[in-house]
């Protein structure tokens, strides 16, 4: 089959690789019909996530048709149409029982590295470095899905892929970011980053009862989508002083919750951002928490900072003093995708949200290397790339 293989910093290739096989009794094999490139794949593309190896198959947002079942998988049939969560969960551990699927104890065959760096290993992820298990990803024609009886969500066969594909990651990720804000009646939520996760966070904040959502970015077409499609008020951080503006917009109190949907490779206009970009480029820093810093500064006293954006290592100059002084709550982490899939599918079926709005590029798998570059450089108004097979 064809698969998108990581080759090093800013280099991916489409290669012919063997088809996946059932390796464990709870595995299934999915013939992939649609698969997407995620903003977090760009961190791999940029080479800022450790423990990648040449030849690793990328991709963790995919769906398709079940073509083979391991002997212990009883809840699916060959021919079922499924959306696969990006995290792999056993369904039976302490964490899965609490629906904390991304913290699954038993799905990472290589927990040692994460244990050394983070204290404990997290769940396995598709196509996301050997720290997360080294599982082959879904930017391919087929994928082996371990614990296939837990993660994959069966969707109606007549449902358009584009409406449900993002249940694999970014819709639940935006939704969990908003759910983590503990939104109350009358709340204002500020969202840094109007990429796919930020846009879904805006949609979700409204679904969960936010009165106002203010979105911050600098890419014109993303701000436009946040404003026109997702109905957020928008701020371009290159044009206004974000902290001043948020304060004015919220009557001096600050947003009740702030969502950092940017993560470790944020851009900014202040001196710190330039300094951190330089440090990261010579590997003296792992992350540049520019959006996070602003979110902490902006958040109202007693408010919540929710972090769906990915961070990988040790952060410099995070104003913990401000967070402490203001009594902030922090919520973060990889999304517990499976926890949210059914409720979000229902929202899609009911017509509350049509996630396909953010697809700007539909490509064949052969064009993936170019699409990575386009997406990274945010050229050609690129917001979301979907790879269509067959």
């Amino acid at each position: 089959m064809k698969a998108v293989c990581w080759q090093g910093t800013k280099h991916v290739e489409v290669q012919k690789v063997p088809d996946p096989q059932i390796l464990n009794p709870r595995d299934i094999i999915v013939k992939i019909t649609s698969t997407a490139i995620c903003g977090s794949d760009l961190h791999l593309f940029d080479g800022v996530i450790p423990a990648m190896q040449k030849g690793d198959i990328l991709g963790h947002e995919f769906m398709g048709e079940v073509v083979e079942l391991g002997p212990h998988v009883k809840n699916l049939r060959v021919g079922d149409k499924v959306v696969v969560p990006f995290n792999i969960s056993c369904g039976h551990c302490f964490f899965c029982h609490r629906q904390e699927y991304s913290l699954c104890d038993n799905s990472n065959p290589k927990p040692e590295l994460a244990e050394k760096i983070y204290g404990h290993g997290a769940s396995g992820l598709f196509g996301y470095s050997h720290m997360y298990g080294g599982y082959a990803g879904g930017q391919a024609e087929y994928a082996r899905v371990p614990f296939g009886d837990v993660g994959p969500l069966k969707v109606p066969t007549d449902m358009d892929d584009e409406k449900v594909l993002f249940l694999s990651d970014i819709f639940p990720t935006g939704y969990m970011a908003a759910a983590n804000c503990n939104i109350q009646m009358g709340d204002t939520v500020a969202v840094w980053g109007c990429g796919p996760v930020g846009l879904f966070a805006i949609e979700s904040a409204y679904l969960l009862g936010a009165e106002r959502v203010i979105a911050i970015d600098h890419v014109p077409e993303r701000l436009q989508m946040a404003k026109n499609v997702c109905k957020a008020e928008v701020l371009n951080y290159e044009e206004v002083d974000v902290l001043d503006e948020l304060n004015i917009l919220t009557g001096g109190r600050g947003p009740d919750a702030c969502i950092d949907a940017v993560g470790l490779e944020a851009h900014g206009t202040d001196l710190y951002s330039k300094y951190e970009t330089a440090k990261m480029s010579v590997k003296m820093a792992t992350d540049r928490p520019i959006a996070l810093r602003q979110a902490i500064q902006a958040c109202r006293k007693g408010g919540t900072v929710s972090i769906p954006g990915v961070y990988g290592g040790f952060l410099d100059k995070v104003p913990l003093g401000a967070a402490f002084a203001k009594g902030l709550t922090f919520r973060m982490g990889q999304t517990h995708v499976r926890k949210y899939m059914e409720a979000l599918l229902e929202h899609i079926v009911q017509g509350d949200v049509d996630p396909s709005f953010l697809i700007t590029h539909r490509i064949n798998i052969e064009d993936a290397p170019d699409a990575y570059k386009t997406f990274l450089d945010k050229k050609d108004n690129c917001i979301k790339v979907v790879i269509k097979n067959h």
């Binding site: 089959m1 698969a3 293989c5 990581w6 080759q7 290739e13 290669q15 690789v17 063997p18 088809d19 996946p20 096989q21 390796l23 464990n24 009794p25 709870r26 190896q53 040449k54 030849g55 690793d56 198959i57 212990h72 792999i88 056993c90 369904g91 039976h92 551990c93 302490f94 029982h97 104890d105 038993n106 799905s107 990472n108 065959p109 290589k110 927990p111 040692e112 396995g124 050997h130 298990g133 080294g134 599982y135 082959a136 391919a140 082996r144 371990p146 614990f147």
Partner: protein, 188 residues
Amino acid sequence: MENQETVVTPEEQQQRLIDQGLYTSEAVTVLSSPEELYNFWLDPTNFMTFTEQLEAVHQISETKSHWVWRALKGGKTIEWVSEIVEQKPYLLIAWRSTPESDLRLSGRVEFVPLNYHRGTVVRVKMAYDLPTGKLLNLIEKTLGESPHRNLKINLIKLRELFEAGEIPKVEGQPAGNKREHETKTALH
């Protein structure tokens, strides 16, 4: 907790079971009952299902079993006969090697149930010794493995087997760049 008395300190453990050598201990929490874990542990053939280095094991008598351990690197083997020396149903099992073995080892596992369905703590202590001492050197240089790491990884695999019913793996999955074998698990 009432089972606390079964826990001994490293010093006591070393003194009780072996005079000198390498001491290692590790613990894992498994969502299962002490009864199930205890019964599983009593049957040495069960260790074949989650201990990758174990080449063969067979029961000699109710308390004695013969073990063959193969290093993952280099493939050298080491053999011993293990004898259960202490047994308290659902609480602890202690064993040691018999004199005809390649090495002297002793071990002890304790099962401590947690309240509120939080599972059972499986706490293992192991001590190894050789007539010449320097066992760590032997195992790490000859076999290329660290006893503590092996213990930890194998306990994780035990948990995976009990909770998930299988041990996660990536060997055999596809990869680009003509990689012949998928990168190894942490054990290798």
